[in-house]
Structures are given as C-alpha cells and as structure tokens.
Symmetry: C2
Subunit: 333 residues, 2 copies
C-alpha cells in the first residue's frame, strides 16, 4: 500500500516515527507498505517509490528533506497526482466548516483512497456524507484519533462489543478542562490560575474557549452519537455549558459529599455537555489530563475506557486505524 500523510504537525510527525520504529510489524501485514507523500500547508514531498522514513523522522520542516519537495503546491494536488491507496489526514481542526480536511477527505474517498483521520472538523460537519462516500467507493474511513485521543472507543465498540447495543454514552472528553477542574479540586487553585497553567504547559489549545466553553467536547459528542448510536445529529443539537461558572465553593461542597465536578458529555435522549457531579468512586471519575468514556450496553451493562485524550498518545489510535486498513485491504486482495 502507498500512503499519504496530509499535515505534518505532531501527529503526522509521530506517525512517521511510529511507521519507522514498527516497520517490521507493518511489513508482516503488508510487505510493500510505503509513505509516498507528506504535505503541509506550504507544499509537499512526493516520491512514488517511497520516502525515506528514517530521514523523514528527523526533520522539522518538510523543506529540509531535500529532493522531492514541491514548494507552494497544495495537498489537493498531491492527492490527485499520487497513486496512493491510503491517506492519513491530520490537518488542524476547524469545526465551522471542517476545512481544509473536509475537501481533502472528499477528494480521497472519491478517488478510491481509504482515509484515516485524526481531525474532528470534517466528521462534525459531514459525518454521514463521508461514511456513505466511503461505502460507495469501497474505501475505509476510520477516525479513532478524533475522539478521546488514544482511547480506542470506536474500534472497541466495532470489534470488541459486536453483539452489544450501546444504550447510553457519557464521558470526560476534554483533557484540558479535566486538568483545570482537577487542579481546582485537589489543589484549590482558582479557575484563572489553573487555565493559565494549562496554557503554559501546552495542555490548552491557544483559543481556550474551544476547551473551556465545552465546544471541543460537544464536537466529540456529535461524532460519538453518529458513529456509535446511529444518530444523525449536528453540533447545534448539543446543549452546551462550559466550566467558567464552576467556583471553588461548588467544588468544596462537592468534595464534602464525596463527589467531584467534571465536564461530562452525554449521549442519551438528548445530547449535552455540562459540568456534573460525579461520585469519586465511579469509574468515570478520572483526573488530570485523562479522558474516560463510559458505555451502557444491553449485555456488558457498563464498560469504561480510560486513557490519554490528546497529545502524543493519539498516534496509537491513528496507527491502529492504519493497520486496520492494511489488514482489510490485504484480505480483500
């Protein structure tokens, strides 16, 4: 298989590193796997014979690779002209219109190229359009990295709970707000100071509103509802309350009764993101930058999955999606 990586931020870079370090395991599934193109907003690398992953993992900017770099050309051009079978889309999230990822994903699927994405934007805007497009073109569309980072919630339901029906989902879906609430809860820090610390430590997005006002969590609620509960919902369908109103007083009252306050996304008869009291002994009650997803199902009853919801660990989810595509295409071949 020939793969493209669209976007060379930390996920693109970490994926190259993982491809290189795990090359023997990958070869066991697909002897001919290679990365033939990598793009960023300013141009792309392209070599149909395969790029040198060892060299690629050590450069900071694509320009530094040397030959094969096409300055000023667009990712769309790379998708069009390459002979890729798989595209990993890891451009920045823009939830308003899903761009530029949405255009890239549409282009790839329409060209019969399977897509693995870690970008929430396109899925929030056009989940059902894109899954139908993938089906129509006989491609895979996998997006494990879009929700709760390294937590493999979509493949868990798809592969490990095949016989279960998901009845309800609730989760801590944003690591930044969980970090802030944990600092306020355990260390009696003010909201402002905890937010500042999160920003300084690189835990918060530059625009803190995206995390703090529950927008990021709401995007994840939309994707979970569409993917795991057969809904057809949009961002506007989520009732959102962020964590700006959480006071030290509220937290210490909660603490006295053995509760914590967590920003919880819920998919039930309604879709909601709001601060909730969670018993400290509940499996969902995890702290720091951890995320947790709690499933209620008909057979297993309750399953909770906990892990890192953002950052470098997300490469685990993206790599798992890539290997899933390799395996499926191998079987189909």
């Amino acid at each position: 298989m020939k793969a493209l990586i669209i976007g060379f931020g930390f996920i693109g870079r970490d994926l190259v590193k993982a491809f290189y370090e795990k090359k023997d395991a990958i070869r066991k599934i697909d002897r001919d796997f290679k990365v033939i193109g990598v793009s960023h907003s300013k141009g792309y690398l392209h070599n149909d014979e395969g790029l040198d992953l060892q060299r690629l993992q050590h450069i900071k900017n694509l320009e530094d690779y040397g030959s094969s770099y096409h300055a000023g050309e667009s990712s769309l051009g790379l998708i069009e002209k390459s002979e890729a079978d798989l595209m990993v889309e890891a451009t920045p999230t823009r939830i308003k219109d899903g761009e530029p990822g949405l255009t890239f994903i549409r282009k790839a699927l329409n060209s019969g190229i399977s897509v693995v994405t870690s970008n929430k934007g396109p899925l929030v805007v056009a989940f059902h359009e894109l899954t139908r497009l993938a089906e129509k073109n006989g491609c895979e569309l996998l997006y494990e990295g879009t929700v709760a980072g390294a937590i493999p919630i979509f493949s868990l339901v798809r592969e490990c709970l095949q016989g279960d029906r998901v009845l309800r989902i609730s989760g801590i879906l944003n690591g930044t707000t969980n970090y802030i609430l944990s600092r306020m809860y355990f260390d009696e820090m003010s909201f402002e100071l905890a937010l500042k610390e999160a920003q300084e430590r690189g835990i918060s997005e530059r625009d803190s509103s995206y995390d703090v006002d529950g927008i990021d969590a709401a995007c994840k609620v939309v994707i979970l509802a569409n993917a795991l509960m057969n809904r057809n919902v949009k961002f506007e369908d989520v009732e959102i309350t962020g964590i700006r109103g959480i006071t030290q007083e509220a937290l210490s009252l909660a603490k006295k009764s053995n509760f914590a306050i967590k920003l919880i996304g819920t998919i039930d008869s309604t879709l909601e993101v709001a601060p909730k009291l969670v018993p400290i002994n509940h499996p969902l009650c995890v702290h720091g930058t951890l995320n947790a997803v709690h499933l209620e199902t008909d057979l297993a009853k309750e399953i909770t999955l906990v892990g890192y919801g953002a950052g470098r660990e997300t490469v685990s989810a993206v790599l798992n999606d890539v290997l899933t595509v390799l395996r499926k295409k191998k079987k189909a071949a």
Copy 2:
C-alpha cells in the same frame, strides 16, 4: 455455520438467549447460523437441522426440550458425531488439569472446529498447546470470557491496540475479593461478614478459597501473560498472596492517606497476585464487583478498561468471540 454449546450453566443459557434475541444481527453475518447441539454432563441435545432457540431459551434442563435429547451420552460423542464448525465451551473450571474442557477443546480443534471458551482451566493448563493446535488446524480459538468477564481485554489488544506493545499489565481480576475489600473499606465490615454476604448474594464461588486466596486471579494472570505479553508461564510461576490477612486497621490506615487496598494481579518481570495500596484517584481503583485492567504500552502509554468481571455480563464477551469467528469464516469462505 453450525454451532455446539458444551455446558448448559448460566453462560450456556444466556448465550442461547442472546442468540435468539440477536438473531437478525447474526443472520446479517451468517444467514445459515444455527445451534445444532447443546450438552451438559448428563447428556445432550442434537439436531443437525438446528435446534429451536426460542424453545431452548425457556427450558431449565436439556431433558425438557423433548425430542433430540440423548440421555447418558457424553459431550465428546456430540463433538465427534456432529458436523459443527464452532464449539462454545462453557463447562465448569477446574484449574488442576483443565478437565473436562481441555479434552473437549483438543477434540474440537483436532477436528477443525473453531472454539470459543469461557473456561479458564484449559487455558491455564495448556495455553500454548491449544493456540498452536488451533493454528495448525486453521481454526480460531477465542477466550474473551475467561478473564475479567465482560471486559474485552484480549480483543482490545488484538484489534484496538494493534500497533502498541504491551509493557506491563496490572488489574483487579476477581470481583468477589473486590466486593469483600470494598465492603470492608467503605462500610467497615469484618472480612468474615463481608465474605459471608458475598456467598449469600451468590458473588463468591462455593469454595471461597478459590477467590479469597488469589487462585482465581492467578489463573487470569497466567492467561493474560501468555496471550498478551508473549510469555510462556504456568500457574506455579505466579507468586500469590490472598486477602485473608487484610485487617480493618490496615484499611483505615490506607484510607487516611487516600489509598485503598486492592487484590492486584501484576504481569511485569515477575508474575504476582497480592494486596496492594492503590491511590483512590487511580483509574484502577474501582469498587464493588467491578474488575479493571490497566495496560501500560509504548504508544498509548496507559489504557484502563473497567467492567463487570463475572456473572451474566460475560455473555457479551462470549457473543463477541462467536461473532468474530463468524466474520472470519465468512471472509475466508
């Protein structure tokens, strides 16, 4: 596919019910799926045209089904004479020699019949023998229900963490001891009283030593180590300390420092089952009859999976294994 169910205890019975309730979903994978035989220690039902699942789910004893019952005949005979492609083995666990399940599984795999089992015994005694036997005969051997009940830990690692290397596993692997320790911790109950309550509520096995002295958890450690960490270990390799020595004093000291005491199975450079102090904020620190498995991996770093570790929820794991076999055989066909 034609399936046998060996053992008609609560797992066998719940599986029949699940097959019946989910018949439409199963038919989507395999239009010809049927259960052609069900056995218990006193005889078996057999009908190569398929048994009536609706009738089967309402009877308490196989004899009550009516026709097709062969009194006094052995499960081995059923495996030999039927034309099954799949056997669900759900006989009682005996960890000393893995029997009678071990003989049934060997027989099935040698006859090219794929096996799904919820029985720890055969896997503790002969893990590598059986996995090699399955491979040699082109069969599947799946055992999700053997460890931590409804928690799909084996399929999680196999399907959702394909690119990750598991470096360390720790877990609460026995619901009975977790129930006892939770009652002692939260309600200041004595060990004896908590054990008695667990027995009265049907949470403890008849022989409480199996749970309380860590034997059950040690069996699970052996299977996890062999299946997920490429080890070749036996029951004797696990250092085991049970929970009989845990006093009310120890628990209240732990509580004062924000720890709980949990019976933890660990797979690291050594294999161990022993009571450990666990910070109450750690994702592994779950209570009541819940189980939890904490994985440390190279990419995702930390993933914790929480769910019910025994009882009726286990049918989720067994059904998932069955559906996995149906899917694989469909692809291969």
